[in-house]
Subunit: 361 residues, 2 copies
Amino acid sequence: MAETPKIRFGVVGCADIARKVSHAVALAPKAALHAVGSRSINKASAFAAANGFPASAKVYGSYEALLDDPEVDAVYMPLPTGLHVRWAVLAATKKKHVLLEKPVALNVAEFDEIIAACESNGVQLMDGTMWMHHPRTSKMKEFLSDANRFGQLRSIHTNFSFAADADFLENDIRVKPDLDALGALGDAGWYCLRAILWAANYELPKTVIALRNPELNQVGVILSCGATLCWEDGKVATFHCSFLSNLTMDITAVGTKGTLHVHDFIIPYEEKEASFYAATESGFDDLVTKWVSQPSKHIIKTDIPQEALMVNEFARLVADIKFNNARPEKKWPTISRKTQLVVDAVKASIERGFEPVQIQE
Amino acid sequence: MAETPKIRFGVVGCADIARKVSHAVALAPKAALHAVGSRSINKASAFAAANGFPASAKVYGSYEALLDDPEVDAVYMPLPTGLHVRWAVLAATKKKHVLLEKPVALNVAEFDEIIAACESNGVQLMDGTMWMHHPRTSKMKEFLSDANRFGQLRSIHTNFSFAADADFLENDIRVKPDLDALGALGDAGWYCLRAILWAANYELPKTVIALRNPELNQVGVILSCGATLCWEDGKVATFHCSFLSNLTMDITAVGTKGTLHVHDFIIPYEEKEASFYAATESGFDDLVTKWVSQPSKHIIKTDIPQEALMVNEFARLVADIKFNNARPEKKWPTISRKTQLVVDAVKASIERGFEPVQIQE
């Protein structure tokens, strides 16, 4: 059987994150770097030269030109969120499969425009939430799904913060209301909310209430915020995200029988291995002066880093559509949309003075 | 110089926790087990025999009789919270120093009755929050107070849960409205709130809002709950406590420059050593595929377990009053009262349908 040809990627925009994902495309067995487009042809050329594109790669001075290249199968789109609806819809119309940076959209209405375009053109949509593709994530999920080891999820806390420098806080697209109006909520909060939904088997919470005093910059973009999420069955979640605190990224999930701790869930400490801590039926000694068992550390190795695994999974789905007439996989846009719904609810709660917001699917 | 005589302890009540603290009194260099009192003389005798009391120890068939023993310097009082105000006030009136189990009282009004009695009788009041006395706690505080390593606290999450068995959920005093009406909030939540206040240098939050859907038993006692706390300066805290989830006890404190993680803050995994994780100015490599530095693990050894250190610190203060005419140390009742104020605020928020409650000192 002949080997399936690689999926040819076009990178739409030269954002910093595009460097990492271009390297990931180069690493992913099922993908190949085919083209890069920027509003400046010089910038595109410099980007291609610096980021492992082959000599044969196409370099375009506009996004439209890249999207018109019939050899491009799929695009990776790291544009500012405010531009997603325009360019992702156009890409879908041009029959390009879309790997879209998170947050997918500024709100679920825009999200729905994007997914409608992808569905009507038969192209795959996936967001750029890399940690979903690390083998550690499925190992953690096995633990959370194990009635004997973890039981039922009862509470979960997630956080993601990093201490942005003065240049970031002044100039990064993520602090600009016309580019990434969701600020830290869309950037860092997206991961926290995805982790909560992931742990809750993507069951949407009933009620979302933002924490008081989120920090905003002078033009009203969120620099830090958080929320509490409640489900009908009594499960609760809290999260906090920030551009103003030391780099931290935790999931603490507590079930009736077990506990999961992970401290580097978005970007693992190391590229080739990652760990988490699992505890089951923890308890004290008779006099309650120490624990009888401690959480166990689980280490998961991976030869291919998570961003390349993401690209490869996306390329696998695209190849299945291209060569086997498969339908686009609904799982990825479905969980993206749920994440977007909860992001929207947190934003709405902040805007309504921290009122409870009911989630409606 | 003659050695200062040991402080003679009377244990008022034979609750399960009294076993641990009796052992701690025996271990504490400045303290001695002198007497135990129970409503049943047989129970008191059996307790003394089983818990390392010397043959000379007094055994009383009522709490009053123990409090009338002129040789008792100090009492340890593990009675149900609903009985604290009666017996702690009587103990103070009898000039006994009072080491009182937490929660100190059912509400701050009762707390104030207890502290007024202690102050007017010149006796020391301290609550039984053992982890405050572990040397790890002061090491963690050094880290949190270090402007270069931790910066300013911005967010903190704490939790404490344990999976109570059917017998506990049916019969323990902590699920009885007439004995420990604060349930999981007073028992497990007390630690979570103390940890938050401790990390915030005991600055009271401005606003407390309980999480929705706390779990209550059939007679209305809290089995699980949580809250968000906000300060004027934008700091935020969240906590969750439960009798219905796997044993878990974390502090995750994030500052502008550093992060603290500890997973066994109330009862250390081991009796003779305990650890925490500290990170400072954490960051990624250039391509954001891994961290350039990981949190460092700090291990603190102690020959004497934290409960004995607590007893010893209490005995030191009592000895200073008894032999050196010192005044009672205000630090301990002050932080107890602040903890009680926040416990009350969470309770009030639950009772008012999760409305924000302003804290007034």
